[in-house]
């Protein structure tokens, strides 16, 4: 497998303006992302995993370190982000939200409309093209957000806890859908979550983060065949292992905040 992104010693330090204190969010992350893999990043809250995603997206600058892109096609957009809170434009319909990227990037109208139609089919939103976001359920909104990110045809899809605010039932359905879409589009997915079950179900590799400052504790390859089931024996074993690894980190995080 070819490497598509090389993260080199990414550090991020936030400065709290009021007090002048410095807070190290990311303490040097080095990681190679392989083309076409579904990479899951898990860690306790506040470990900087979302910050890392924002840096990869170019929405934040790292304090130090670099990202090397080994992209084959420099004309293509590198990344597209799916946010936890959907971040849909409330004044645009489903279709209008999906075409936003191609629209601002100057793709001719007939091309972007055709692309939108294909994506609406892919994420199963047929019949809802002309609804506004507030007329959709949470799960459907996240489908729109995914289609919108895919509309730019980015090489890497970034997911920032996309299913965290959905109910358990919808989350299960969308986890299956995500794997299907990942398989159909053959894109690289970087998926940030704090759900260990999700990590077991989705990941080709699971990157475990330490508590703040975020560092890579371990990279766990997952070779279990798909489709996976959380009730499966080997899945359960992996889940146990990950839980154990992360428990220390959660405790460390709580101690740091003075909560234990």
């Amino acid at each position: 497998m070819a490497t598509i992104l090389r993260l080199r010693e990414i550090r991020k330090v936030w400065r709290i303006e009021r007090t002048g204190e410095e807070m190290v969010a990311l303490g040097g992350i080095s990681l190679d992302v392989e083309q076409g893999e579904l990479l899951v990043i898990v860690g306790p809250s506040g470990c900087g995993k979302s910050t890392l995603l924002q840096i990869v997206a170019g929405l934040e600058q790292p304090t130090s370190g670099a990202i090397e892109v080994t992209a084959s096609n420099s004309h293509q957009k590198l990344t597209g982000m799916v946010f936890q809170e959907y971040a849909l434009f409330p004044w645009r319909t489903v279709r209008e939200n999906i075409v936003f990227g191609p629209e601002v990037r100057g793709v001719p109208k007939d091309q972007r409309e055709a692309r939108a139609q294909a994506l609406i089919d892919l994420v199963h939103l047929k019949g809802f093209e002309h609804r506004y976001p507030h007329e959709l359920s949470g799960g459907m909104r996240q489908r729109v957000a995914l289609a919108r990110a895919l509309a730019n045809d980015p090489q890497v899809l970034l997911f920032d806890e996309p299913l965290a605010s959905l109910d358990a039932q919808t989350r299960k359905v969308l986890q299956v859908e995500l794997v299907r879409i990942w398989q159909e589009t053959k894109r690289t997915f970087i998926y940030v979550t704090h759900g260990l079950e999700e990590a077991v179900l989705l990941g080709d590799r699971v990157v475990l983060f330490t508590a703040r400052p975020g560092r890579i504790k371990e990279v766990v390859p997952v070779t279990l065949p798909r489709p996976r089931s959380i009730t499966g024996r080997r899945e359960a074993e992996l889940l146990d292992y990950l839980s154990e690894q992360i428990r220390d980190e959660v405790e460390r995080a709580l101690q740091a905040e003075g909560l234990t």
């Binding site: 997206a57 170019g58 929405l59 957009k77 990344t79 597209g80 982000m81 946010f83 809170e85 971040a87 849909l88 434009f89 409330p90 004044w91 645009r92 319909t93 936003f100 990227g101 601002v104 990037r105 506004y132 507030h134 919108r148 990110a149 509309a151 730019n152």
Partner: protein, 250 residues
């Protein structure tokens, strides 16, 4: 159940008018102060037929609409810039803070001095009142836009200009309409105030003249006309908002 309540909406105003009429007829109230509804209606018909009321309404509307439209346009444009560009905010903020608390009617004498006694000074007074309300609400609207929407737009490849046009402007629209509604109310107040002086045309003038001549029915007729203008402006703005913001549950 709701049917019965809905009927009440028609019954209560009619009952109010009937009781009002009855009380005046029975001589409990001096008709010199409170004329009967029939007398008010009669005065309205007379003033409409002899052209005084339509003419007054037209003169006032001309001032209100011009003042409102110019004030709104400047307020929206300035508000978007102040809300989005830090430098513009730092430049404009102290001026707004200094001028906003002044009752806009108190500016009329100065404006008459500068723009003469004609329509211009009245329009400028109304414009000023509308401008500040629309400006302040537009700024609030821009600042209330969820930052994650700006991030999403950037992530999808939008330039700063495209973010301004495709995210900031539509995102601020709900608050802009709040400003327009408040501005419409203030515009009606100000047109009345500005018509007390230096004019012989307009609904405010007609009302004031009727008062001075002790023609109470006419005072009532003009007051009702002002109320109707208020209702119509609200409806018009509601219709416009539905047209411009179809995504909102109104």
């Amino acid at each position: 159940m709701w049917r019965r309540y809905r009927l009440l909406r028609f019954i209560s105003p009619i009952a109010f008018l009937l009781i009002w009429d009855l009380v005046v007829r029975l001589g409990h109230i001096n008709p010199l102060f409170v004329p009967s509804p029939a007398a008010v209606l009669q005065a309205t018909v007379n003033m409409t037929l002899d052209g005084r009321l339509p003419w007054a309404v037209a003169a006032s509307l001309n001032r209100v609409v011009q003042g409102f439209v110019y004030g709104s346009l400047i307020g929206i444009a300035l508000g978007l810039l102040v809300g989005w560009f830090r430098a513009v905010e730092d430049a404009v903020d102290p001026l707004v803070a200094a001028i906003y608390p002044i009752p806009k009617s108190a500016l009329l004498p100065l404006f008459m001095l500068w723009f003469g006694l004609g329509d211009t000074s009245k329009i400028v007074t109304i414009l000023t009142g509308v401008l500040f309300l629309v400006l302040i609400n537009t700024v609030t609207g821009v600042k209330a836009i969820d930052p994650v929407l700006i991030k999403a737009a950037r992530d999808l490849g939008a330039s700063q200009r495209q973010i301004f046009v495709k995210v900031v402007i539509p995102g601020a629209l709900p608050n802009i309409f709040t400003g327009l509604r408040l501005g419409a109310g203030v515009a009606l107040i100000l047109v009345f105030v500005t018509e007390l002086e230096a004019t012989r045309a307009g609904l405010g003038f007609l009302l004031w003249e009727s008062y001075q001549l002790m023609l109470v029915q006419q005072v009532f007729a003009c007051t009702v006309a002002f109320g109707i203008l208020g209702i119509l402006s609200t409806w018009l703005l509601q219709w416009f908002e539905r047209l411009v913001c179809p995504w909102r549950r109104l």
